[in-house]
Amino acid sequence: MPPFLRGEEDDNWYRGTANAIYQNLCFIDKYKPRYVLVLSGDHIYKMDYSIMLQFHQEKQAELTIAVIEVPWDEASRFGIMHTDRQGRVTEFQEKPERPQSNLASMGIYIFNTETLKKYLHADNENPDSSNDFGKDVIPLMLSKGGRIFAYKFRGYWKDVGTIESFWEANLDLICSRNGLDLFDRSWRIYTVNRNQPPHYVAAGAKIINSLVNEGCEIFGEVNGSVLFDGVHVGEGSIIKDSVVMSNVSIGRNTRIERAIIDENAHIGDDCLIGSEKKDPPEIILVREKLVLPENSVIRTTSF
């Protein structure tokens, strides 16, 4: 539901997460669902929403928010929920400085449709609102005494809103014990099929602790990395702790460490990409279609 298809006014691009749904309420009305499930497109996790819906029904909630326990020292980065014994939300703090709970909102909501409509209209009436679920709609609903419950999720969950978390989430996939099992046949992750042949590993290649997709041709060394489809790694090159996207070609004797190489980039021979900063890691991003000539050196993100 792209925003540019709607209305004649100039300012009808989606303002906040709640406004995006407010602008499409007529779509929801067309189908008259009893519940509306609101999700984000940039989170990595596996969840059976039907179990959450069951919880929502059992609690006779108006809104159920999925929450996950986060480490206390990271709690101030999230929207934090306080709940009573029944799991009903009593307080909500967006990125609190001194969190009193470590239950973080995952940005996954089940609303009763009528509740959603009521509060979206109310939120839209408020000229000072930023029209965001976390910042505006949920606090408004709490202040009016709405029945909000927290549904505890256990398992892998990652918000990939930054370059670092995107890089981490990719590398997390390599490890089999993180709870996000890509190899579980009963819960597949569906995607496009690029019609590439199986990937080829040459006689001198070395691959450990990595994920490699179809269509790759590996002549060098790949260690702790994730390779998308159609990546070529030349002889003598080393790819370490990196994410390499579709159809990237990497020449010979090039070293890439802690980097993200975007689609269709061409990295020449004898290049060096990687920052020395490891804690926290500085991730170098090579843009889509970028052509790096031989002997290029990139050691930092700040030019």
Binding site: L173, I174, S176, L182, F183, R188, I189, Y190, T191, N193, N195, Q196, P197, P198, H199, Y200, V201, A202, A203, G204, A205, K206, I207, I208, N209, S210, L211, V212, N213, E214, E217, V222, V226, L227, F228
Partner: protein, 372 residues
């Protein structure tokens, strides 16, 4: 090319690939880590712009239907034309011999008559190739040929045609003679089992063949009455393999380890399509050691793999050793086992410490779902 009907004639070649064809017809035998044999000719037809392809099956076509689905992987799930899987409209179980393709085509006369296409390309389902038929159709029209046939200019696989027919042609491409078996040789080019002819001629041949007791369209009509037709021939100079035996099957798989063959077979002139499986990328664990091998998605490798082809979802445990082998979907190679010169069908389990060793000229074949 809308006006050309593709016909894939899946012959009765029962035990041709021993245990690999126990449960499936030759066209749906897995090949190259993620394909079925039929994918190559079907993708060639789709890439050439054919919009209607009929697959004539005889038996054991369950897995073929499962693989082809509605034809969507080849963009053949169309309202007009599209993919047709035709099962035989004949009771052949009471007959001493399996029917030849003339009976099969005859049993689908209604379908063939109904097709709006005026020309047909007929091919078997066991070819490993990547062809563009546009040029061939133009050649066929330009020469006003009754039949256009193909021969192999460059040898992809083996030195003699496994099919056993050869042809002698004039410089303009006119076929002077088609020869059989041992006579093929001296100056004759190995013939390939693909023909272009008009639908009208095909229907005539089928109808007269039925009356005269002919079984096989090529052997009993085209070859036998070759002097009565205006036959032209075109070379195939890209990689080409006909899979008629375990040895050919094994060799054609191993051929894929050659980068030039891989490039030409999988990318030129078009891509080879197959049914998608949504497998994750393959995972290499610490201690994995893989060289000169092809791996499809969904594999988990902790052991050693040399000069082999692993299909989707194969698991190679710690200490396992695989060399010169073809391992099909979801097979499980246990810890410290040893697999050499072997072809493992789908879902085979080799238990810890197991040893499967075939000969370099006769690889050992392990049937589907066997546990060893």
């Amino acid at each position: 090319m809308k006006d050309v009907l593709g016909i894939i004639d899946i012959k009765a070649q029962d035990d041709i690939l021993s245990e690999l064809t126990d449960f499936r017809c030759i066209a749906s035998v897995p090949f190259g880590g993620r394909y079925r044999l039929v994918d190559f000719i079907l993708s060639s037809m789709a890439n050439s712009g054919l919009q209607r392809v009929a697959v004539f099956t005889l038996y054991k076509y369950g897995s073929l239907m499962d693989h082809l689905e509605t034809g969507k992987s080849w963009d053949l799930n169309r309202k007009e034309d599209g993919l047709h899987i035709l099962s035989p409209n004949i009771f052949y179980s009471t007959q001493p011999n399996l029917p030849g393709n003339i009976k099969l085509f005859y049993s689908q006369l209604d379908f063939l008559g109904r097709c709006r296409q005026n020309d047909a390309i007929i091919s078997p389902g066991n070819l490993v190739c990547n062809l563009n038929f546009r040029k061939a159709m133009a050649f066929h029209k330009e020469k006003r040929a009754d039949i256009t046939v193909f021969y192999r200019a460059a040898m992809g696989n083996g030195s003699s045609s496994p099919w056993g027919y050869g042809l002698v042609k004039s410089p303009s491409g006119r076929v002077l003679q088609i020869e059989k078996g041992s006579k093929a040789g001296q100056g004759s080019m190995p013939l390939v089992e693909i023909f272009i002819l008009s639908k009208q001629l095909l229907l005539e041949m089928v109808e007269s063949g039925i009356i005269n007791g002919a079984e096989d369209l090529f052997r009993d009509i085209i070859f036998k009455y070759q002097d009565e037709y205006n036959i032209y021939a075109l070379p195939i100079d890209s990689y080409f393999a006909e899979i008629n035996s375990i040895e050919h099957y094994y060799q054609a798989n191993i051929d894929l380890l050659n980068p030039k063959i891989r490039q030409s077979l999988f990318f030129e002139p078009g891509l080879i399509y197959t049914k998608g499986k949504d497998e994750p990328p393959s995972r290499y664990l610490n201690g994995s050691h893989v060289t000169n091998s092809l791996l499809a998605n969904g594999c988990v490798v902790e052991g050693t793999v040399n000069s082999s082809i692993l299909s989707r979802g194969v698991k190679v445990e710690k200490g396992a050793f695989i060399e010169n082998s073809i391992i099909m979907q979801k097979s499980h190679i246990g810890e410290n086992s040893h697999v050499e010169f072997a072809i493992l069908d789908k879902e085979v389990t080799i238990s810890s410490g197991g040893r499967i060793i075939g000969g370099s000229s006769n690889p050992i074949v392990i049937g589907k779902r066997k546990k060893l």
